[in-house]
């Protein structure tokens, strides 16, 4: 059997119909320290984030988003051994930390990066884009 043009169809099918999910992490590199609070965003930043979120929802890119509390308030749990070890604090100590995130859907990295570029402007923070594993 010969299906001419099948490759075009298959490529389009894969690239456009099956979207990827990306984690967009908002990175705090000193804002919380300067603000003296884990709620470090300004009113303008908040308003810009609302506009950006609405856009994500309207165009169908939105999956989930949220702000995170200070890593000092994290608790690490390790139950691989015989007894559960519960430790105060995050699993990795670093000056920079994840202060919030978006999970978005996009057909490819270029679209995800374009959204991240807007997101970084809106929240006025550095941002990391990371793909979820494809299932």
């Amino acid at each position: 059997m010969q299906v001419k043009g099948g490759s075009e169809w298959a490529a389009r099918n894969r690239q456009e119909l099956i979207h990827m999910q990306y984690l967009i992490s908002v990175i705090d590199d000193g804002q919380a320290d300067s603000a003296g609070s884990e709620i470090s965003g300004t009113a303008e930043e908040g308003a810009a984030i609302d506009v950006f979120n609405e856009k994500l929802q309207k165009q169908g890119s939105w999956v989930f988003a949220g702000g995170l509390g200070y890593p000092n308030n994290a608790t690490t749990v390790d139950n691989r051994g015989e007894s559960t070890v519960i430790t105060d604090g995050p699993y990795v100590e670093s000056k920079e930390f994840m202060a919030g995130f978006w999970i978005i859907e996009a057909p490819d990295l270029d679209v995800a990066l374009a959204l991240a570029t807007e997101g970084s402007k809106a929240c006025n923070r550095k941002i990391e884009v990371r793909p979820f594993l494809e299932v």
């Binding site: 059997m1 010969q2 299906v3 001419k4 099948g6 490759s7 169809w9 298959a10 490529a11 099918n13 894969r14 690239q15 990827m20 057909p107 490819d108 990295l109 270029d110 990066l113 884009v129 990371r130 793909p131 594993l133 494809e134």
Partner: protein
């Protein structure tokens, strides 16, 4: 016989990897199938004879190799790959579409989400068709390291889904500029090779960079910066025969034997620069750099150089690219026009370039002209310490030792 294979490889490799990538959606499959197809040609052509249309033969063979691999791996539940297996294998794609594919391939390999090292390696492998050992040797990296670099990059392209398509119109200028940046790094590594015990020039790399830039120019004939980059490379490469003395020492522009320059490359470079000037469009940085090199290469001797025109071009370049490296080169041109003291005052304001050997080499030469010998000697010492090119180090050592 091997000529036919080499020629087909040079002409068809990028086209083939590009169309296989488009068809199978996977750079890894494309690369492997292309390499296997050429290995088959090396095996078969000497006994079976060169096929009447070598390009078509290679393409068909590569397509079959790719499908074989997919069949082997098709244990996974992947409807997309199953769909490919029922297609017409041997129908060639229309020509225009294939040209676009090579451009897509270049944009994917030079994607800003990849590290610069990965972009260079991927571009030379996927578009240039260089083998892994060749690339590893060119960049003085152990083969397994280079292999890992390429594998990791291909992994990120798949996992993060770096797309295989033309950038949007908004992104296009920045992405073209990114591709040009990669090609220029390849060129520079050939023109001023790093490494303390290697050949100072690696003409294989400059030739490859020029070949890829010609390819890009064929694909984007209206892009002024692409034309500017090609002109820039040609005008620099034209001076290669005069650039290293028999003693192995670098010969600076002013002392080069201009009769050794390649007149054909200069003529081609000048024609490109003139065409850009005629276009009346505002030039980008590569076009301005090409124009600066056109002024140098149209001067019959170093003394006749039109330095005021060069300074004017650097003024224009500083506005496009206010980096300290550009400011340093502008200061050198001003030194020729207004004297060493004026240039030194400018150079002393660029101390952020402390780790950049041309900064110290420039200071050394200017201090020498200003008869400040002991400061000049210190600057030479610092430049020699930082310079990585054998011919350049030899030149700097001699200049320092002349000071006594």
């Amino acid at each position: 016989m091997s000529d036919a294979i080499i020629r087909t490889h040079r002409d068809e490799w990028a086209r083939m990897v590009a169309s296989l990538t488009k068809r199978f959606g996977d750079l890894d499959i494309a690369e492997e199938a292309a390499a296997e197809a050429f290995a088959t040609a090396v095996e078969r052509w000497p006994t079976d004879g060169v096929p009447p249309n070598p390009g078509a033969w290679i393409t068909m063979t590569a397509n079959r190799k790719a499908i074989d691999r997919i069949r082997r791996e098709n244990k996974r539940d992947d409807k997309y790959r199953e769909a490919l297996l029922v297609m017409d294998v041997d129908t060639p794609a229309p020509l225009g579409a294939i040209d676009d594919d090579r451009l897509r391939l270049l944009f994917t390999c030079c994607h800003p989400a990849l590290s610069m090292e990965a972009r260079i390696a991927l571009t030379l492998r996927m578009v240039g068709g260089l083998t892994m050992p060749e690339i590893a040797r060119a960049f003085l990296v152990p083969e397994p390291t280079m292999g890992q670099r390429i594998t990791r990059a291909k992994g990120k392209i798949t996992a993060a889904r770096i797309p295989y398509r033309m950038p949007s119109a908004d992104d296009l200028p920045a992405r073209v500029s990114g591709v040009l940046g990669v090609l220029f790094l390849v060129f520079n590594e050939g023109y001023l090779a790093s490494g303390s015990d290697t050949d100072p020039l690696r003409p294989g790399l400059t030739a490859e960079a020029i070949r890829l830039t010609r390819l890009l120019r064929g694909l984007l004939p209206d892009d002024g910066e692409v034309a500017g980059m090609l002109a820039l490379m040609l005008l620099i490469d034209a001076r290669r025969p005069a650039r290293v003395a028999l003693s192995g020492e670098l010969v600076p522009l002013a002392s080069q034997d201009r009769l050794l320059w390649d007149a054909a490359l200069i003529a081609e470079g000048h024609a490109l620069v003139r065409a850009r000037l005629r276009s009346g469009e505002a030039p980008g940085r590569y076009q301005v750099l090409a124009a600066i090199n056109a002024v140098h290469t149209s001067s019959p001797s170093a003394l006749d150089t039109d330095w005021s025109q060069i300074v004017a071009l650097y003024d224009q370049l500083v506005r496009l690219d206010p980096s300290p490296v550009v400011a340093l080169n502008r200061a050198i041109a001003i030194g020729e026009l207004d004297g060493a003291d004026v240039a030194l005052a400018l150079v002393d304001g660029l101390a952020s370039l402390d780790g950049y050997h041309p900064y110290h080499a420039t200071r050394a030469e200017l201090l020498r002209r200003a008869s400040r010998d002991s400061e000049s000697r210190d600057a030479y010492d610092r430049a020699i310490e930082l310079a990585g090119n054998t011919a350049e180090s030899a030149y700097l050592r001699r200049r320092r030792d002349e000071l006594g």
